[in-house]
């Protein structure tokens, strides 16, 4: 029988390989927040299997589970059968969108990016008082969250780069549009082209991003291939900073939250730790760390579409921070900072910030 949907054409064999062992239930953050097995990876794979078997069809009834996945890849990492759940879910979301079944929050996002160059539909980006569009060795690419929400983190990253006398420039960046694929739409070609043109125009040899998700998109998506063809490297600022001697220290007890996009998705675990250990010898790991790290709950559009569960996931992560007794929790993703910050309870006295923010503050203290 001819496959009806893209998810089946691409992933039939993988979906069938799901042996329903349930191991993903132990790690899926959405399950953790809801204790509803229909929402974990197994539940999602079973629905798609029933669609392939012709027992049910894609419909609005499936929105609640297919659009409620942070694409954190915890399931994949623990799956004996190696099922690539986030990729399958993303493709199924596109199939859903094609038949007109989409979470309203996500339809909105696609519409916004048709009209605006950022996911927040804002017209004015924060001005950081740095030169733009000049010829430089590096381009700093902040990402939407860094430009419109966590502007402090971006300012800090730029301050650190200034202090280290890095030859960088900003550009009139637009949304990398990677998030669209997460929520059921293709990347926005116009936005992609704008970014490519503006990056290449600077003659930079590398792009440093403040956002692990932008780094992934610019690095891996075929639409951004022209960057690679021109030999432009893309890296996250955690990778860029690892070899610098920053010359600042703290006695504070510090811990680190691995963002899914940097850790499980890119395998970058040690670079940030290398930097943090140099700064803060009193470093402790969270109970779940490296590939076992718990998701902050923000990814895959879940923060926008299922805010309450998203916050519950973040709270679970913050309870782990409490257990360690750390005074500071560092991470490398503005989106994680944002969600963890929203979820923080008054009684939780620790600070949440990006590693570069922490470095900037130490540098300022040191004068």
């Amino acid at each position: 029988m001819e496959a009806k949907y893209d998810f089946e054409r691409k992933y039939r064999e993988q979906i069938l390989r799901c042996s329903r062992c349930g191991f993903c239930q132990a790690v899926c953050p959405v399950y953790g927040a809801t204790l509803r097995p229909g929402l974990n990876a197994r539940g999602k794979m079973l629905l798609l299997k029933e669609v392939m078997d012709g027992r049910i069809d894609l419909s609005d009834e499936l929105i609640e589970t297919l659009f409620q996945c942070t694409t954190c890849a915890s399931c994949t990492h623990n799956c004996p059968s190696g099922v690539q759940v986030p990729e399958i879910v993303k493709t199924a979301r596109m199939d859903m969108v094609n038949i007109g079944s989409c979470h309203p929050a996500f339809t909105g996002m696609n519409e916004v990016l048709k009209k605006h160059p950022n996911i927040y539909a804002e017209d004015e980006a924060e001005e950081f008082g740095r030169e733009k569009k000049r010829q430089a060795k590096y381009v700093f690419f902040a990402g939407c969250v860094g430009l419109y929400r966590e502007t402090e983190a971006t300012e800090a990253a730029l301050a650190v780069l200034d202090k280290l006398k890095v030859d960088y420039t900003l550009i009139e960046e637009v949304c990398c549009s990677g998030v669209l694929e997460d929520v059921g739409f293709p990347l926005n070609d116009a936005l992609v082209q704008t970014n490519i043109d503006r990056i290449l125009a600077t003659g930079a040899e590398a792009v440093i991003t403040g956002c692990p998700y932008c780094a992934r998109t610019l690095n891996n998506k075929p639409q951004y291939a022209p960057l690679r063809a021109q030999g432009v490297l893309v890296m996250h600022i955690a990778q860029f900073l690892q070899d610098y001697d920053l010359g600042v220290h703290t006695h504070k007890k510090v811990t680190y939250h691995d963002p899914c996009d940097l850790g499980r998705h890119c395998g970058i675990y040690e670079e940030p730790r290398q930097t943090i250990r140099k700064l803060a010898p009193n470093f402790v790991e969270l109970p779940h760390h490296h590939a076992d790290a718990l998701c902050c709950g923000a990814g895959g559009g879940v923060r926008g579409a299922y805010a309450k569960n998203s916050i519950d996931m973040a709270r679970r992560r913050l309870r782990e921070v409490e257990e360690t007794g750390a005074e500071v929790v560092l991470t490398e993703c503005n989106s994680c900072v944002h969600n963890l910050g929203n979820a923080k309870l008054r009684k939780q006295k620790f600070t949440i910030c990006t590693t570069t923010q922490f470095i900037r503050d130490l540098m300022e203290e040191a004068g």
Binding site: S19, C21, G22, P37, G38, N78, P80, G82
Partner: protein
Amino acid sequence: MLDAQIKDALIRIVGQQNYTDSLIDMVSYSYDASEHRARPSCAVWVENTAQVSEVMKLADREKIPVTPRGAGTGLSGLSVPAHAGIVMDLTRMNKILELRIEDRLAVVQPGLVYADLEKALAPHGFFFPPDPSSGKVCTMGGTVGTNAGGVKGAKYGTTRDYVLGLEVVLADGRIMRTGGKTIKNVSGYDLTRLFVASEGTLGIITEIALKINPKPTVTTTAMASFNDLEDAGRAVSEVMRSGILPSVLEILGRETILAINQNTDLKLPEVDALLLAETDGYTKTETEFQMETVLEVFRRNNPGMVKLATSPEEAAQLWTARKSAYAVLARIKSHFVLEDVTVPIGKVPALLKGIQAIAKKHEIQIATFGHAGDGNLHPQILYDGYDPEQVRRMEAASDELFKLAIELEGTLTGEHGIGLSKARYMTLEHDAVSLEMMRTIKRAFDPNNILNPGKMALDAA
């Protein structure tokens, strides 16, 4: 679909937020880790014993099937609602109610995840020994419901050996307590044990009192390869006669070794069998003394190689092969069945040989690994479930496998239970009288046959 009135009544008992009949949940509750499938009419997430009791009263009155469910990791269709009705998900009753180390006692709710119990016991230096390999996800209710066991069965037994008492809600909603909180107890019939491995057919377990053990702090691990199955089998028998009890004695058969080599870079020796042994205790001297006995036995039986781990890292490396077996085999074909036939320990080689012959005869891939130390093997039959011919061959091979196990004085199932998968083989193992007694017991507890109906051949005439 349920009658609207019944739906309303259920919602009144558990609350709107704890009732579902949405498609997402109904599909998810149609399956466990086996190939069986049956869609329920609705599901409830119960929060306490009182709710369980009220749901049962309603279901009994209206004669609606109720299937209790933990994590749904069963491998025999155990929590698949064969006759539809209500799925009762117990995972939200997940508390540890009491932890009394000096009494060697843990009292837990059925939805507690096995690994969470382990985590709570670890700081006290205690553990709950059965150790099913699904421990990260499976619940204590499911563990009792199936009498789960694991790699340590030979030395530490299975769940049955640790359940001291239960709170159970009967089919008609009455609440019953069995056993108690003491290590010894011979007061009256052993109703507690009756519920272990009852697969949700006799009542809903709402509280479990468990015996816990101090955890040995030192282990020693070794591996040996055998070119000839006979030699491996003799080695197993001799270890069991030698006077020491290894904490683990695992076997990997040739098909499994080949599959691991084809899919990983472990480069295992391609032999008939690999044996993995672990001894445990509280001092190095003690575990090494035991291991020396095991190694002597290995050396006497023509091994290819014998490797003793000299560090925890090396031990972990030796374990990799055994631990990767399931994941490797799970990826080879679109479908598999993981059997758990069990024979007297001395008959493990005969079982392994028989399995090879069955695979050859039916031209189907069967990879075997398992717990040589307690006679429990896991032949994993790999096939394509969308190819009717392969399905037929898989079924024919299963038929013969079960017959073989019984011929060897064994049992259909040492761990995973009867459920739907093995219901039709019950007569192979149990005589007509014992089957009738089982059915009599079922009728006494559940006269309307509403608790997990369709399982264990209990409702056959």
